[in-house]
């Protein structure tokens, strides 16, 4: 057996160990980057989720100003705490839009009456079709859409009060 061949396994092992040491020294990043970031919002036209609210379509988003689109539902428990943070964001001038997934008007009305209503418009998405076209796999999720109707950021899970500053920064970048 030639000399080179003899030492090849050792070299391979060293390479492997280096890669693994690198991985161990660097914590695994589990955040998910959306593939839709940088792409226009898929066209949709939802009816109003409630008689008292305006309907939501993709045209309502391309108005020159960034919007925060919140995919939520009255039956979703984390949404209850999230809606309070959304109200604080609205108080600072953020345009918050809602997409209510698989919801009933009476439940939604009760949810908004009890927890507050930060939404300018709420589109009803009874079959989750818009939710799916947005690449959202659950509720709540939020999208920052810039004035041209392009998705700039996707937030998976509830927006906690600790996320508010980051969301405002993302909205500024989308301006």
């Amino acid at each position: 057996m030639s000399r080179g061949l003899r030492f090849a396994p050792i070299a391979l092992l060293a390479l492997l160990l280096l890669a693994m040491i690198w991985r161990l020294s660097k914590p695994v990043d589990t955040s998910v980057r959306s593939n839709l970031e940088g792409k226009p919002v898929p066209a949709f036209d939802l009816g109003p989720a409630l008689d008292t609210k305006l309907a939501l379509s993709s045209r309502d988003l391309a108005t020159g100003n960034p919007h925060l689109v919140n995919v939520f539902a009255s039956w979703c428990v984390p949404c209850v705490t999230e809606v309070k943070v959304l109200q604080q964001l609205k108080a600072t001038g953020v345009a918050v839009e809602g997409i209510a997934v698989r919801d009933r008007p009476e439940d939604l009305a009760e949810f908004l009456a009890r927890n507050g209503d930060p939404y300018e418009r709420i589109g009803g998405d009874p079959q989750s079709s818009v939710q799916i076209s947005l690449g959202s796999s659950g509720v709540p999720e939020s999208f920052i859409v810039d004035g041209k109707g392009v998705i700039r950021y996707q937030h998976i899970g509830p927006i906690e009060s600790s996320d508010a500053a980051m969301i405002l920064r993302q909205l500024d970048r989308a301006r």
């Binding site: 057996m1 003899r6 396994p9 050792i10 160990l17 890669a19 040491i21 991985r23 695994v28 919801d103």
Partner: protein, 640 residues
Amino acid sequence: MIAETGLASLWLAAGLAAYQLVLMILALRSRVEVARSIRAVAVAQGILTLIAFAALLIVFARTDLSVTLVAANSHSAKPFVYKVAGAWGNHEGSMLMWVTILAVAGAFLGTFSPRTSAMTLVAALGAQAALALGFYGFLLIASNPFARLNPAPIEGQGLNPLLQDPGLAFHPPTLYLGYVGLSIAFSLAVGALLTGEVDSRLGRAMRPWVLGAWVLLTLGITAGSYWAYYELGWGGYWFWDPVENASLMPWLAGTALLHSVNVLAARGALKAWTMMLAVIAFSMSMVGTFLVRSGILTSVHAFAIDPQRGAFLLALLGIYVGAALVLFAWRGANLKEGAPFELVSRETGLVINNLLLSVVLGVVFLGTLYPLLVEAVSGEKLSVGAPYFNAVAGPLALLLAVLVGIGPLIAWRRERRPVFKQLRIPLLLGVTALAVTVILAPRMGILPRLGLTAAAYLAAAAILPLTRRNPLRTPLATWGMVVAHFGIAVALAGMAANAAFTSERLVVAKPGETISVGPWLVQLQEVTPTAGKNWTGMEAQLIATRGHGPITLKPQTRYFTSPPAETNEAAIDTFWNGQLYTVTGKPDETGAWQLRLWWKPFVTLIWLGGALIGLGGAIALFGRIWRRRRREPEWRRGYA
């Protein structure tokens, strides 16, 4: 007191391992006669680890919540069998099981190894002790399973519900026995490289250990595959998950080793290659353990993500594999290759078998670690999935299946007869199967079609070594080979049939609705609440008919409270020609339920084939040991 007994036994065993290593060094350096004492030490070490493991089982059986590990992983309201099996359903417990098997394997090596030369045995026991010592250190320093918790909590946190299944009682121990059983081949190879006694005698000594470990690994993987199939509710038997690959890699290396060790034993050839494979096979076991235990690759098996433990295991991996490879580079090159062989010979066939298995191993290894390497170099994240593995490993496996039919027909050293004449019937069967699938299922994928073809050919070709022989005078090892090779054909047929003929329906159904899947009509009757000892759930009642008598299936969704989690319990009904597999999901607001239904023709052949492969290995192992006993009375003297 019991936990302390376990801990003390572990410390004592670690001390004995160190002593065992010192004895080996003394023996190699100054030719001190230590053979008897080193064997006794190995046995004592094995017994001490058994005591430690028994102590762990007892604290888990009693749910002694003053032990941290029990409090973190058990719960008093858990069925008894899962309390006991829960002992290894966690990091520390499973590492203790690993060490116990390592030490007990060493004790077995010290007790039953009549074939090995005294010096090689001493060196191998030293190597085994060195392995054990590192893992004792890991347990005692970084993962003490017996650590106490003060004050003891009132209730434990419970076991992951996915693990609360009979599979847990069988799959991890079998797999670990296989993984760690390969350590004996590793130690024997290291020992023989140290003493320079790499010969057919070593091959014959190593063969039963390799066979035994390989049988357990085969059964462990087969059981794990079935467990994932029914427990996860995804309807798949293999996901090319990193941890599944981690068990497949030692199996592939072990399969190659199993065949090359035969060449070494029978002909004294392929010396360096066999030693290399013995090192690689157990190294793959350690890589697998490291991948699982460090959580560096994303996987459904990611139990405990702890970089420090990962670093410790990585250091052990580097030291052991590195030392063995350096030893191989230093000593392996001096090995004189044994008896020469002609181009057309059994030896050549086994070399090709080994090369193909090694390429498959390389493919799986690369695919498993490629995401890690790419991210280290370019920072880009990607994952490698079934499309890569199926496309690359699939054709290689088919080629291997074709050669499996030919290899056993070729004679050792030199084949003068035309072998292909014997293969007429198998080839005819294969062509028939191909023609039938082309006519009856013209749109089938290319891999499943070739899979069915190869399976039909191999099922006949595998039996050929038995023809024109007196079945009673045929050695059991040959019977074992035939059964195992036939098992490959069976498993291949199951995989191809599953890939080609599965029907799947995903629907939202209201009670009373009927859904068709394959030849079946399935009606959702009702969904009712149900409960078990530590869970509540919803149970759907399905009535399935296929022309004749209806059958009832009751898939469940279970909600566990400690820890809070939800599992889907699939309801599966098995028939001679397939399985009806049903899973329930969530209700929607209108009172309809998600239902997932599969009709999987002949899917059970996959695990039947796996079991046959394992059974074949077991028959061969029994044959080897029994023949040795009958022929060589010194086997009994080897007991001392």
